[in-house]
Symmetry: C2
């Protein structure tokens, strides 16, 4: 057993050799209608998984198909770099979002077309594009050199777009197999078109429903107004107490156990935020959340509590003078290290219930599917490997950023894997993922190929 | 010209003479499918109006049909009691509510059936029943005696169940014609099965929509949580300030200009309220509104501010972590004399807007269709006439009550009429009006006939 280190120039040559067939194969991958949410496409999803597994197997990876209750998971491995080399787990997904409204697509979403340097198709970026430049790099290196610089495990699931319902149970069964020194989730993006980024963490999440029941049926607000308990008033009063006027969450303990950045991280992690650009793009200043903290810091380093839905009474056109029997709300928190999602959820439920009007029970259902926040130290070797790879490929230092969103499966996967976790990828905000005319740049596809090749090589030497 | 006074015994004899044909004619009236809200029944509504007008004309009343933009109004008069006799305007409606769900009716809603002492049909009580005992009494007296005790105007509209959209404009045109000393709106009910009631007033109403716009599109609460302005938080915070924990409305001036009951009225107006019964019926104690004031007083004498609808974000099954672009609410107030609905509406709009977060405009649209509260002094002759009539017919003193609801057209009609306004009728809470199997008691139909006859006679002598 031996490992191979490929320099950037060698990888560029390699890409030139494989790109024609590689782009053809990529197009074939994009043609599968692997819409995981659509029951009419179950066969297409399966065909896509089979094609991809076959592709990897033919090129020398060992394949284990996990036949979950939902769509299959491809678990591909190549563990021949030797015991002194690290093991890296890569995460991707081959399923895609639906394609409605179809009439807004300029070419059919499953007939990929390349023009103006972009490849247009559903999944062109998310995540078939990022998946395929990764496996094209790996299989090309393997074919060229007969080996890989690190021990590699690749998990490619088929249910990311529907919330990965089947994967956690399988990860429990496959605990030993997914163990690795590092986990790279290749499903995120760059800071902007010219600046690559390594995402050191994502926020955790806990969600809940709030239900206030009043009378046993809707009542008329004429004959009952001022008499009947109105759950809508109770709802706005209790939810109005969750934050103060400055956006500071009032739930006791909400900001406990927050891990700040180290002094070293503070120097390198980018918390910059263009408020003017935000205002122009979204039509409002970034005034949500804690007003005394800068938006960039709020997004990366602070937890938040948001109301995601309010409902009750008459909400149609016109007017109906009703006092409804029920009022409901949906709340979610984004969490940071080292908050415990279940504990935070429970403290919010306790807070809400402690503010219930006399004689009224407020039902708060904290959903079991939580996710912890992830953050990897900037000194981790996996961070260094991608950071250096991106710097070489883009000829500009990669920024270190923090993701405000949550990738729920990443927390589970990271825990099972046991290694430092990083989020990487070359997505851009205007790639139209989840929308008509999704696309990905052919040059970015190449840079992705090069970055993966370099990252594996660098990691093997650190 | 002369006027006639009929005693109860004489009216009972008269009823016995006319009841067979009268109930037949009542059934005929009930057979018209005069559903005002249903475009498929425009012809049925018109046929009903024509039949009723013809019925009244044949029996000696002068008919003026108002061909409004909507369904016609019948304006029937008999003004021959002499100038020394008062003029009474009676209000009814011949239109009815829809009949869905049809399968829950035991007999077809437009095929009236009498059993167990009740007549079952759509409109049996609301308002064809109360309308028909009134006109049967009037036309029978006129036929029997050749005259009526008072000068009479009867306005029977065809759009009450859809909010009387066409009537106000016609009342403007007919100002002089609808002038009267008294107005009796025969469309309400009794305290309970054995105790008649005269309703001295109804609350006024003002309604409004509240709209808070945030960003120019819905955003994801992961990548925007803690950054983006969330209009749902602003909505609950501002609406949460409208009432304090004890249900007291916090809008400055909200309780100004409230006319209390006179000492005399306090002695006779019933503000009793069965809290135990309320709890058992509706599943909650009557804890809405101002907690330091008794429910009966709150309902009759206090204004209220209710949230009737809340909407924004994701409200379906499951969860969607959205920060919505818009949050909305619907509010209404029930008002008491002598609050000005427009002024109250504006003060609530001002209060809400003054609590808007920095940089956010809250749009409050106060709807133009307001209604003032009505209350007639217990010493008014029209109150005495109905009160005495009910006492004779039911052999128990009538209670004086206040209606918590609003009958929007009544405020306009009362203003145009210029006379003291009273709400009367023999409805019961379990007559199933607006529901399947609506019914009205045959004995109550008779008592209605007797009450109208006696009330007119008594009024002519006061």
């Amino acid at each position: 057993m031996y490992s191979i280190m490929l320099e950037l120039q060698e990888l560029e040559k390699l890409y030139d050799q494989v790109k024609d067939q590689g782009l053809k194969d990529f197009k074939k991958f994009l043609e599968f209608k692997s819409i995981s949410s659509d029951l009419d496409h179950i066969k297409d999803v399966k065909a896509c998984a089979n094609w991809l597994a076959d592709y990897l197997q033919k090129r020398g990876l060992h394949i284990d198909m996990w036949d979950t209750d939902g769509h299959p998971v491809i678990f591909a491995t190549h563990l021949k770099a030797g015991p002194d080399k690290p093991t890296l787990l890569l995460y991707h997904h081959y399923d895609v979002q639906p394609v409605v409204p179809l009439e807004e697509w300029e070419n059919p979403p499953f007939k990929p077309e390349i023009h103006d340097g972009q490849i247009y198709a559903r999944g062109a970026q998310d995540n078939k594009g990022q998946c395929f430049y990764t496996i094209l790099a790996i299989t090309s290196i393997l074919e060229k050199t007969g080996s890989l610089p690190v021990n590699l495990k690749i998990l490619i699931e088929g249910e990311e777009e529907i919330g990965s319902p089947s994967l956690p149970a399988w990860l429990e069964k496959k605990r030993d197999e997914v163990k690795a020194d590092y986990l790279a989730i290749v499903d995120v993006g760059m800071k902007n078109r010219t600046t690559p980024a390594v995402t050191l963490g994502a926020r955790g999440i806990v969600t809940m429903d709030v239900i206030i029941d009043g009378t046993n049926s809707d009542l008329h607000s004429g004959t009952h107004g001022g008499i009947a308990f109105n759950p809508l008033h109770a709802l706005v009063q209790v939810l109005g107490k969750l934050r103060d006027e400055n956006g500071v969450v009032q739930v006791p303990g909400f900001y406990d156990n927050i891990t700040e950045l180290t002094e070293e991280e503070k120097k390198v992690v980018s918390l910059s935020f263009d408020e003017q650009d935000y205002h122009e793009t979204f039509g409002q200043k970034p005034t949500g959340g804690e007003r005394h903290i800068s938006p960039g810091k709020r997004l990366g380093l602070r937890p938040t509590l948001e109301i995601n839905g309010l409902n009750g009474g008459f909400t149609g056109m016109g007017f109906k003078t009703v006092i409804p029997a029920r009022a409901t709300a949906k709340l979610s928190c984004r969490l940071v290290p080292d908050q415990n999602p279940k504990k935070v959820g429970q403290s919010i439920a306790d807070f809400i219930q402690s503010h219930a009007p006399d004689g009224i029970d407020i039902n708060v259902h904290v959903h079991p599917g939580t996710g912890i926040a992830l953050r990897t130290n900037v000194n981790s070797k996996i961070v260094k490997a991608f950071s250096q790879a991106y710097q070489e490929v883009f000829d500009i230092p990669a920024e270190y950023i923090l993701e405000g969103g949550s990738i729920p499966i990443s927390a589970t996967l990271s825990e099972m894997c046991g290694g430092d976790t990083v989020f990487v990828g070359l997505g851009l905000a205007d790639d139209q993922i989840h929308a008509p005319n999704e696309h990905f740049g052919v040059r970015r596809f190449k840079k992705g190929f090069l970055s993966i090749g370099r990252a594996l090589s660098i990691l093997s030497q650190l």
